[in-house]
């Protein structure tokens, strides 16, 4: 019998997750194809929630489809679009549809996306949302009303590997509220990541950490990523991509080397492919993880 993502995490298995984004529209064929590349390769597939505040199909619907296909999902839940009623109501629905893993985050501000004038909600923040899911897991809603059957969510959160003091305090709050695992922003510096792991181990060594891995596509791509908060692609990596005959292949090699350096420091990796997962299998084969 296949173990669930949560059981694997708890058993100490090195877990692998990768990201798939729902379609902009109602055609799910590309999403199914992309997720299919990951089937039997990763332990769970993350489904993003209107990432970069660009409106797409609901991750709840997308996760439900993939779960039916036998692919275990991690549903992203942002605080941007729904208030406490909407979030809890969707979480109950998700649970009923077989979704068991959720990843909580604030969510990019609407001003960053394709509906820039949308009213930002953020009725609860990520710390409060983790606590709220903890209550659902105990059989109560946020207001303290008893639920007809409790949920059983495995709750994760996100973090940058490089944290200033206010951000470190928030990380501690997320752990205190019950985040069982973290998926980090893309890591390109082993030193920064090992500092982060030291911080985690000081707070709560039982918390599981999946290091974010992003195969770079080109020099241009790396320079662009450096503008994204929490990502820091070092100069020598950019130089390698510049010199490479095939930058995409070089990007996969860089990612594989990163996995090699990080795998003994953490509990798993989270692969964030750019656009599609064609390269994910290649990367994992290169590292011998599959």
């Amino acid at each position: 019998m296949n173990l669930s993502f949560n059981s694997k995490l708890k058993s100490g298995k090195f877990v692998i997750t990768a990201e798939v984004c729902p379609p902009k529209g109602t055609d799910i064929s590309r999403m199914l194809k992309d997720a299919d590349l990951l089937k039997d390769t990763v332990d769970a597939v993350n489904i993003t929630d209107n990432q970069r505040a660009i409106m797409r199909m609901s991750p709840l619907a997308a996760c439900s489809v993939l779960e039916k296909e036998g692919i275990e999902t991690i549903m992203h839940v942002t605080c941007r679009d729904r208030n406490r009623l909407g979030l809890q109501s969707d979480l109950l629905g998700a649970h009923m549809l077989g979704i068991r893993n959720v990843l909580v985050m604030s969510g990019d501000h609407p001003a960053m996306g394709d509906h820039a004038g949308a009213k930002p909600v953020y009725d609860v923040d990520s710390v409060q949302l983790i606590g709220m899911i903890g209550k659902l897991n105990q059989g109560f809603d946020l207001a303290g009303n008893k639920l007809e059957m409790k949920t059983d969510f495995c709750v994760g959160a996100v973090t940058n590997p490089e944290l200033n003091e206010p951000a470190s305090i928030k990380l501690r709050k997320k752990i205190k509220m019950g985040a069982g695992f973290f998926q980090t922003q893309a890591v390109f510096h082993t030193g920064i990541f090992s500092g982060f792991m030291e911080k985690i181990n000081e707070i709560q060594p039982q918390v599981k950490v999946l290091a974010g891995i992003m195969p770079l596509k080109s020099e241009k791509n790396a320079v662009y990523l450096n503008k994204i908060p929490g990502i820091r692609v070092p100069k020598d990596v950019i130089e390698r991509l510049k010199r490479a005959k095939n930058a995409e292949e070089e990007g996969i090699r860089i990612a594989a080397e990163m996995i090699e350096e990080l795998r003994h420091m953490c509990d798993g990796i989270h692969i964030m492919p750019l656009k599609n997962n064609n390269n994910t299998r290649k990367l994992l084969e290169m590292t011998g993880l599959i």
Binding site: S106, Y122, Q128, K173
Partner: protein, 204 residues
Amino acid sequence: MITSTQKDFDDILRMLAENNIFIIGCGRCAKKQRTGGEPEVLDIEKKLASSGKNVTGWMILKSACNVVSWDDVLSQNPGIGKADAILVMSCGGGVSVISRFANMQVYPGLDTQSIGGICCNEVVTGQCNMCGNCTIWQYGGICPSARCAKGLLNGPCGGAREGKCEVDERDCAWDAIFERLRSIDKLEYLEKIHEPKEYLRKYR
């Protein structure tokens, strides 16, 4: 103080369907911010006139949101009786108070932004979110509900880059909260996990 910005004149013109316009400015917040005091009202009067509108008069109320007697306003300003519409250069509070009295179309000349203040002649915006449940003391007097673009109560979102918010040029409110609490030796407030805010007392 209520902070406001002037609407683009072209937008004002598109809004005004009537020809005979009376202008009311505000001697409080709008005057201090130079969005609706005498110089701004005179400027709009000139622009309206050169755009073919007939300005029947103008006045500056001591405070547009505090009108004791509309009869007094009318008797001192006969131009209102000759107008088909009033353009109010104040915050939404003033526009709505005047709309209660005036028996004609009333237009806003400003866009109301936020609750703010003036520090050493500098207008500071977005200081209060009017949540009806003030907890600003736990954040060193810097309200995250108003000053963090996401209104997060338990710490930064991780979207700031070099201390700047992901949304615009503003500084990350959480860096400021951290520094302030550190300077008054109250960093323990930052460790507190804040429950979701109760919005029952917020007017809307």
